[in-house]
Amino acid sequence: MSEKKKFTYYPGCSSQGSALHLDESLRAIAPSLDIELEDIEDWNCCGASVGHIGGGQLPNLSLTGRNLAKAQERGKQDVVTGCAACYLNTHAGNEKIKNDVNVRAQVNEALSAADMEYDEDLQVRHMCEVIVNDVGLDKVREKVTNPLTGLKVAGYVGCQTVRPFAGTDGGGNYDTYDNPEFLDNFAEACGAEAVEYNPKTSCCGGSVAVMSPDRTLHLIKTIVEDAVEAGADVIATPCPLCQTNVEMYQDAINKKYGTDFHIPVMFYSQLMAVAFGLDGEKDAALHRNTIRSEKLEKMAK
């Protein structure tokens, strides 16, 4: 891909809060990857993994319907998001609407209450899949001017970035469910070393970790412990909720298990921003991690 490719961008709610640093670093690296991002105008929440319980199935799906109707105002270009939950909901909802005329009719009947309609057949894609399939690792390597030599990275993919769509045609067939390689490849393309790491796609507890940490601290402990034992300097992840959960609960884990974990959890896009020679604060947003990586900050321009 040598020419710029335009995408309609769905930032998602965490882009204005807990995952501000994912949004900032993605927008910063996009031009280097020849990606142009045009935001969905007045986008709304995707419903995440609990919206259907509070609101019901069709109201929850209508959230996605509204986003897609707004996305089609930008044209037929693919929709892309960096958030795992936004991707899962919007991709799954879009496929459901496209493949079932009754569902599309119901969603459009709901949208008509605001004079809106979704009649396109858009594609909803994950940023990581776009980087693998459209941009390509060669382009990532080509853009590295500040290789992260000596940085050991544990690639923690999490669940919803790859499950359940990474191995489907609609999901771009870009990797496997249990042992995905794209994140390690991103780290190595940036000049870092991807360490052997087993819990790549172990669950952090997702929203259950937010509502009842006691039920899921043991899951996060394994994710952190294996990274530390593998000698990683940082954990890298594509998922907003994984990043926040694995970062913010290390104190609680230390308290509960008598451990002493303090390992930074970064987004892959922050690593890329540093490796592309962009600004450590403005572009890589390294100051937004509550556990900071001195090693990466020293490498940053």
């Binding site: 807990s18 919206g51 319980i53 109201p59 605001a114 899951l219 509550t290």
Partner: protein
């Protein structure tokens, strides 16, 4: 005294199974389940469930409506989708559990629990602002347990909140919200109306 012989007509009420097949999202694929247990074996917090998905699906076939709808199984699903991608019969396990959770609330089986309270707080924010305001969802969730528990949970997480504020990941001003809140409100009301209409037809 001899044990009473199982009364198959009572033990196996296919009425509930058929209701699940027809009304629960993904339920039409439940008949494909061959009870292999890959789902339960793959579940990250399956040990905290009353019954793993495999057993729950057998209970559905056995017509155990009350036990199924009041179990905590669906409330422990983290939506990791490991069972979905591993199921050799392509049963959409996660989707079924997610909708069973919604149905158990709708039909009055679920007692208010952490997950349902969190879901309500989450939906309130999505519906009111069009966006998830992580601060308000969390605060509303904490205080849904009462003032004392709310304050306790808030204090327990003060350090995390302070970390988020310092790094600019939690703002202190008005909630982020969409411009066309009225339009969204109308869409959601209409969608609820359609869902109600369809469930009666």
């Amino acid at each position: 005294m001899t044990k009473p012989a199982p009364n198959t007509s009572e033990k196996y009420d296919l009425g509930f199974a058929n209701w699940v097949y027809e009304n629960v999202n993904g339920g039409d694929k439940l008949g494909l389940c061959m009870q292999c247990g890959v789902c339960s074996g793959s579940c990250p917090i399956g040990e905290q469930m009353d019954h793993g998905p495999r057993k729950l699906f057998m209970m559905i076939r056995a017509g155990m409506k009350d036990e199924v709808l009041s179990s905590n199984t669906m409330w422990n699903c983290t939506s990791c989708y490991r069972c979905v991608v591993r199921c050799p019969r392509s049963v959409p396990v996660t989707y079924i559990l997610q909708d069973l959770a919604a149905k158990s609330v709708e039909l009055g089986y679920a007692k208010p629990n952490e997950n349902s309270k969190f879901s309500n707080s989450f939906w309130w924010s999505a519906k009111t602002f069009g966006r998830t305001d992580e601060r308000l969802v969390t605060a509303k969730y904490y205080f849904s347990f009462g003032v004392v528990e709310g304050v306790k949970r808030g204090l327990d997480n003060l350090k995390i909140a302070w970390g988020m504020i310092k790094t600019g990941r939690m703002h202190l001003t008005m909630p982020h919200q969409i411009k066309d809140k009225a339009g969204l409100k109308a869409i959601l009301a209409k969608a609820a109306e359609i869902e109600e209409r369809e469930s009666k037809s």
